[in-house]
């Protein structure tokens, strides 16, 4: 069952200049992105910095407008909550509020995403105060249960974030996200700031919670091995576009889009015997999103680019078991 449908999402940020701070240019951070999220599944959203993956996540929770003055968001973000369907992208902040408890976010940096002046109890309790009508006693009980769920203890509720390690802080962030019984969790690089030996703990915890509460995850990350482990389906982004989307295992075994191929081949493997020449070397750097190449955004670095790639932006087409935005594969 589909729980979320993103259709032709476009987000552009203004570049202001001059004494009157007028908009002089715009960055199309997300440039026509469409995908579905099923109930209880994990969709991995991968890509390099600047590809727009975090912006997609923020657009879904509808926090871009208060974050950036003059940002333009278009397209549809359909949230199916039985029996209705609502387009989150069209809602004002006030009208978004009833849905906010259903869609929560876990952030990358457990150091800056928890208020250092609040105790763990206050941090986890805050969404309950905002979104539920519950007594103080009920909230206390719920906070205690949540902390236990994420592998902390009730006794730790009175402490402040600085008393915890990075992995424990991320657990607090997860408890806060789960406080309102969400159905969808947007996890933006949830383990990349953690130590290697702690990452596996948090990944396991997220999987356990998904199973228990039938959560749908949009798992945004640049670490391709973690994404493969947790995701059922994968979407690969490059400069604001999805270039390939489909079943995770199939894409990892046999990536079709030339960018997915290069990206996967560049991931270092923890095995000294794997030869280095397997890498597809991409020349150059990711182009400046301010002046994206015409046509296919990847053509300037693509090993199989043809002159006609400059003419048209390739659309996602069905290839085998997935969608690929390249006419040459």
């Amino acid at each position: 069952m589909k729980i979320l449908e993103v259709q032709d999402l476009r987000v552009s940020f203004p570049i202001v200049g001059g004494v009157f701070a007028r908009k002089v240019q715009e960055v199309k951070a997300v440039d026509g992105v469409s995908f579905d999220l099923e109930q209880g599944e994990t969709l991995g959203l991968v890509g390099e910095s600047g590809c727009g993956k975090s912006t997609v996540g923020r657009a879904i929770v509808n926090i871009l407008r208060p974050m950036v003055y003059g940002v333009e968001v278009s397209g549809k973000i359909l949230y199916h909550h039985q029996p209705d369907t609502v387009d989150l992208a069209s809602l004002s902040r006030a009208r978004m509020r009833p849905y906010r408890s259903d869609i929560q976010m876990i952030f990358q940096d457990p150091y800056s995403s928890l208020n250092p002046r609040m105790t763990v109890r206050q941090i986890v309790e805050e969404p309950l105060k905002l979104h539920t009508r519950s007594s103080a006693r009920e909230r206390m009980e719920r906070v205690g249960r949540l902390l236990e769920k994420v592998g902390l203890t009730r006794e730790q509720a009175g402490r402040y974030p600085h008393e915890f390690s990075g992995g424990q802080r991320q657990r607090i962030g997860i408890a806060r996200a789960l406080a309102t019984n969400p159905r969808i969790v947007i996890a933006d690089e949830p383990v990349s700031a953690l130590d290697v030996s702690i990452q596996a703990q948090v990944v396991n915890l997220m999987q356990d919670l998904q199973e228990e509460f039938n959560l749908s995850y949009l798992f945004i990350a640049h670490d391709l091995s973690v994404v493969r482990h947790i995701s059922r389906r994968i979407a690969v982004m490059y400069l604001g576009h999805i270039v390939e989307i489909g079943p995770g295992e199939a894409i990892y075994k046999n990536p079709l889009h030339p960018y997915s191929r290069a990206l996967l081949s560049a991931v270092p493997r923890p095995d000294p015997d794997i030869p280095h020449d397997r890498r597809i070397r991409l020349s150059g750097e990711i182009p400046n999103p301010l002046n994206k190449p015409s046509g296919c955004a990847f053509r300037t670095r693509c090993p199989i680019a043809k002159p006609s790639c400059a003419d048209e932006v390739p659309v996602l087409e069905i290839k085998q078991d997935r969608l690929v935005a390249c006419p040459w594969v």
């Binding site: 030996s197 396991n204 999987q207 091995s225 493997r269 794997i274 991409l282 750097e285 990711i286």
Partner: protein, 328 residues
């Protein structure tokens, strides 16, 4: 018979501690290792393992106070770096031992063009004219793959992308032809496709000089597997395991190393239902346990582990492990 590799740097019993008002942390607590000529040595560990402090101690860049190197020796080309005067040490840094850091934005001065900063690095160490320093800088930028280097000499750091800035740092680190390059998490802030390019670049340094070596500090075991000849695994300020890369990944001995390798999700292999996580938290350097530093998280611990710290012992030729179970 194979000739024995020659040591470029010998670290013996290095101890570096940090002191606050009330507490002392032994960030590096008795570390011994060699860096051989012509090798890439990996130094792996998590936050607080002491890997970066080890590197900064070699260059004597530990802020004092609160830090202090309290014991040990660091022999480099017959001289003990810990006994050199400040001026002598300055001549070693950049000239013979260079370092590149994780964040290329904070390592470059944002208010000066990169050409000026590169020339300064050359002029600070060698008696050459400004013109020669300029030419050398352009040459180095070209070597690390910056397009049209001469035209970019007047650009400021913010006009370069993250990967390009790291290239500038590498060019600067190599401009005086050092024999030891210390790279502290050089690719952690970079994207994977750029990471691959930068690692290849760092490895090319060895082609410049036969007797040179690289000390690569990282938390990423996959990066180590791809680039290093030998690996040191640190935890809690101590070396827990040393082995060749091939041996370490095929035959890891220390429970910590085995745990780390088992916890990595794979890109090509079988997709597991659950990851094998190491329980517990990385202990802070102020709260290290007595006995084995890994005892609080080790699933195979025996009583002796919390009473007595194991010694680092050679369990197979060239393979050193600090564990009671491996070396009873």
């Amino acid at each position: 018979m194979k000739t024995l590799p020659k040591s470029l740097l010998e670290v013996r019993n290095l101890r570096t501690r940090f002191q606050t008002d009330s507490r002392i942390a032994h960030a590096v607590d008795g570390v011994d290792f060699d860096i051989f000529q012509g090798e890439v040595l990996g130094l792996v560990g998590e936050s607080g393992s002491g890997k970066s402090v080890t590197a900064l101690s070699i260059l004597r860049l530990i802020p004092d106070p609160p830090g202090k190197i309290t014991d040990g020796s660091i022999l480099f080309k017959g001289r003990d770096l810990l006994k050199l005067s400040w001026e002598e040490m300055r001549a070693v840094r950049g000239n013979e031992i260079s370092m590149i850091f994780q964040e290329p934005m904070t390592s470059l001065n944002p208010v000066f063009p990169i050409g000026m900063q590169m020339k300064e690095a050359v002029l600070g160490h060698e008696q050459v004219s400004g013109k020669e320093a300029f030419d050398r800088s352009v040459e180095m930028l070209e070597l690390v793959g910056i397009p049209n280097p001469a035209s970019r000499m007047n650009d400021y750091p913010h006009q370069f992308s993250g990967g390009m800035r790291q290239r500038v740092m590498i060019a600067m680190a190599l401009s005086c032809g050092p024999s030891l390059l210390i790279a502290d998490e050089p690719t952690t802030a970079l994207d994977v496709t750029i990471q691959a390019q930068i690692l290849e670049l760092i490895l090319r340094i060895k082609d410049q000089r036969e007797d040179s070596a690289v000390l690569l500090i990282t938390h990423n075991l996959a990066v180590v597997a791809e680039t290093c000849d030998r690996v040191i695994v640190m935890y809690g300020g101590k070396i827990q395991e040393i082995a060749t890369a091939t041996e370490l990944f095929k035959n890891p001995q220390h429970p910590y190393t085995r745990g780390l390798l088992a916890s990595l999700p794979s890109v090509d292999g079988e997709r597991l239902k659950r990851l094998a996580a190491i329980p517990g938290n990385v202990p802070g350097i102020f709260d290290l346990p007595s006995g084995c530093k890994f005892v609080t998280r080790c699933s195979e611990r025996i009583d002796r582990c919390s009473e007595e710290e194991p010694e680092l012992m050679e369990s197979a030729p060239g393979h050193w492990v600090r564990c009671h179970l491996v070396n009873p």
